[in-house]
Symmetry: C2
Subunit: 146 residues, 2 copies
């Protein structure tokens, strides 16, 4: 029945992921958000609504805190984020998204919704739901921060 491909599941996961990421980057660039790099974006993506510590950003992005610091420096210079003191810990600072970041996020979210709609149109509603359900379940054993 279903023409099962012989590719391993890793590749099958990666292909649509990369396709989606490419679409988002293209849309952001077209909207004028072309002053940040993919590496910076991968860090910025992980900033929570109330700010996130550098160390936590580094862990989630799986880079060293030095690298994260370097990338946040760029983002700060480009006005995407600012660092505010963490009221609960004088050592720490919270990396917070600035308006520019939220504006970019709005664009990005729009594209993601659009692509998800395209995928649903191709797969059918049932399969799309099954896909998200399986992936959500998988997160339990693959996401250290789940």
């Amino acid at each position: 029945m279903a023409a099962e491909s012989d590719l391993n599941t890793g590749v099958l996961l990666f292909l649509p992921y990369r396709a989606l990421e490419n679409r988002v980057f293209a849309a952001l660039a077209k909207a004028g958000f072309d002053d940040f790099t993919p590496a910076q974006a991968r860090v910025m993506q992980r900033i929570g609504p109330d700010g996130t510590r550098l160390t936590e950003l580094a862990e989630q992005a799986q880079i060293t805190k030095q690298t994260a610091g370097f990338l946040v420096d760029q983002l700060e210079k480009a006005s995407y984020v600012r660092r505010v003191p963490d009221p609960t810990d004088k050592r720490a600072r919270l990396v917070c998204g600035a308006e520019k970041a939220w504006a970019a996020k709005e664009i990005a979210d729009g594209v993601v919704a659009e692509v998800e709609k395209e995928w649903e149109a191709h797969l059918g509603k049932r399969r799309m739901t099954q896909l998200r359900e399986a992936l959500t379940l998988l997160r339990e054993i693959t996401d250290p921060w789940a």
Copy 2:
């Protein structure tokens, strides 16, 4: 019913992908294959059984041919690949995997199979099949080389 997460599908795809990749790299390093980098691996992964042209490797890895050439140079020095003339085109050379690459691939394939088995144990056979089915279908509209 299913506790659907609110994460976008991109993140949902990325998380298990990265978990799998991490497992593979760890196993390869443990088996002694620690003399290549992730960037080199992403190129090596795309070499076909009969060799692949540099330009094609670059396209599929979504990097420039200059970068691909740089990475293949390293892989060649480390004896993972060799370049042989393309009999059908005197301009071109085929990047071919060497024995060392096939040995590493064997390790990698083993780990992938192992992880897939773990995932199937967690999801159940039915959901795992649905997952692969949906991803395979998705490939039709997300993989330019499908």
